[in-house]
Amino acid sequence: MSLSIAVAARRGAFTLDAAFDVQPGRTVALLGPNGSGKSTTLGCIAGTIDYEGSVTVNGRVLDDLPTEKRRVGVVFQDYLLFPHLTVLENVAFGPRSTGTGKREARAAASAWLDRLGIGALSARYPRELSGGQSQRVALARAIAAEPDVLLLDEPLAALDVEIRDDVRAELVGHLAQFAGATVVITHSLADATILASDIVVLERGRITQRGPVADVLAAPATPWVRKLVG
């Protein structure tokens, strides 16, 4: 599933004007400093904020659809696992909500948990999980809902620095399980280079550079990217 977005949004004095495409099976890193409009872009794709322009997935226009009809999966920065549901119930929530029977939804959730190597956590509640475990459950929950597009908002920001490298390396493998277009929002060059195949740089609401990871690293186009590359 390819994702194509061309949106303009206004939040107070801030304006976002961004357009880019993501091919199926590819992961694009939306890289930018704090306040550059990354989360606003995510809000446009997920349909949680108002915008002008267009978001399309494989030619399907999402603009007039509410969040629940968009088939856009999100892994939130702080995961937002439902505190009153077990890990299995969290992951089964998506299939259940879209009309799958309880038994099948649980079987599907179970399969995803196994595939991400956390089947043993099924009966736990979110408060009993470590940060890395929570992140994997959040990913399993998003993928189990069978979205066309997957968005990850600063997927490593909530984790302790010591485990970030390990979790990031695992995440690469897990993202490969997803066949649709993936967008990773991050302000970290390490996240962008390891998780993504392409980078879209966003600064002050405008795209300042885009291209394959190697190209961006080799020829940074703005002072901010240059400083990041070092």
Partner: protein, 269 residues
């Protein structure tokens, strides 16, 4: 010197503080000490007493269920009114809070003026359908809902405002419709607030006196609830009155104990 500084007012404060505490505790102590413990089962089994006990528990439960069904939606509206302009928002909150501070007798009079046989709405109920509400068991329930529902609304509203609305956004990204989000995410997350509110509402309904006797009267078995029965028994059968008081007090204490861990913000608003 690492000695902790003590307030110079302390000795002067202890005396009035002690008197205040005694003022609150001694009456309850008197009730416990003077209660006819040995005859308690016998007294509570008496026809009239048992009747009011059953009536009170029944109407209290029905009132709480009605308050839940109507009050939770009102709490949702109130919690989501944060985006409204200030005037309607504050007006709504004030209207919901009025029954909390209104003398219950005034509530009873107001209910009579609305639903009495000559009332604003009551006259049509009587003329068109032959329905008379005052001085019936439904009137008891209406009076209880009027005085007790605000407790539930404010408790649930406090829980809703304290909960993270982004869980609802997360549920929507997983394909859940608004109703599914409400049923499977919003409601369970505020469940502690709902049960606390329901308990407070039930206790308030159980203790209702002023609005009930004004609007529903005191007919044994029909509108004579526990508090009214207690008041009347005091003149004819003091032991029965004490026994009934004891029951009401025990219920209140039980509710207080079960609420101790989940006292909900918003009730203080």
């Amino acid at each position: 010197m690492a000695r902790r500084r003590r307030s110079f007012l302390a000795p002067a404060l202890w005396l009035p503080a002690g008197v205040a505490l005694a003022f609150l505790v001694l009456p309850l102590l008197a009730l416990i000490l003077r209660a006819p413990w040995a005859q308690l089962p016998e007294i509570l089994g008496q026809g009239a007493v048992a009747q009011s006990l059953v009536l009170s528990l029944g109407t209290g439960l029905v009132s709480t269920v009605i308050a839940l069904v109507l009050g939770i939606p009102l709490a949702l509206v109130l919690a989501r009114s944060a985006e409204w302009p200030a005037v309607p928002r504050r007006l709504l909150r004030a209207l919901i809070t009025v029954p909390l501070v209104l003398p219950p007798v005034v509530g009873g009079v107001a209910l009579l003026l609305l639903l009495g046989r000559r009332g604003l709405v009551g006259q049509y109920l009587y003329d068109w359908f032959g329905v008379t509400i005052p001085f019936s068991t439904p009137a008891v329930v209406i009076a209880q809902v009027f005085v007790a529902m605000p407790f539930l609304v404010l408790a649930v509203e406090g829980a809703l405002r304290a909960s993270d609305r982004r869980f609802e956004v997360a549920a929507a990204t997983l394909g859940a419709s608004r109703f599914t989000v409400f049923r499977r995410i919003t409601l369970p997350i505020v469940a502690p607030g709902i049960s606390a509110g329901a308990l407070l509402c039930f206790t308030r309904a159980l203790g209702e006196f002023g609005a009930t006797i004004t609007f529903a009267g005191s007919f044994p078995g029909v509108t004579q609830t526990l508090p009214i029965s207690t008041y009347l028994q005091l003149q004819t059968d003091p032991d029965a009155a004490i026994a009934l008081s004891l029951v009401l007090m025990l219920v209140s204490v039980a509710v207080l104990v079960s609420l101790r861990d989940r006292w909900v913000p918003g009730l203080t608003a």
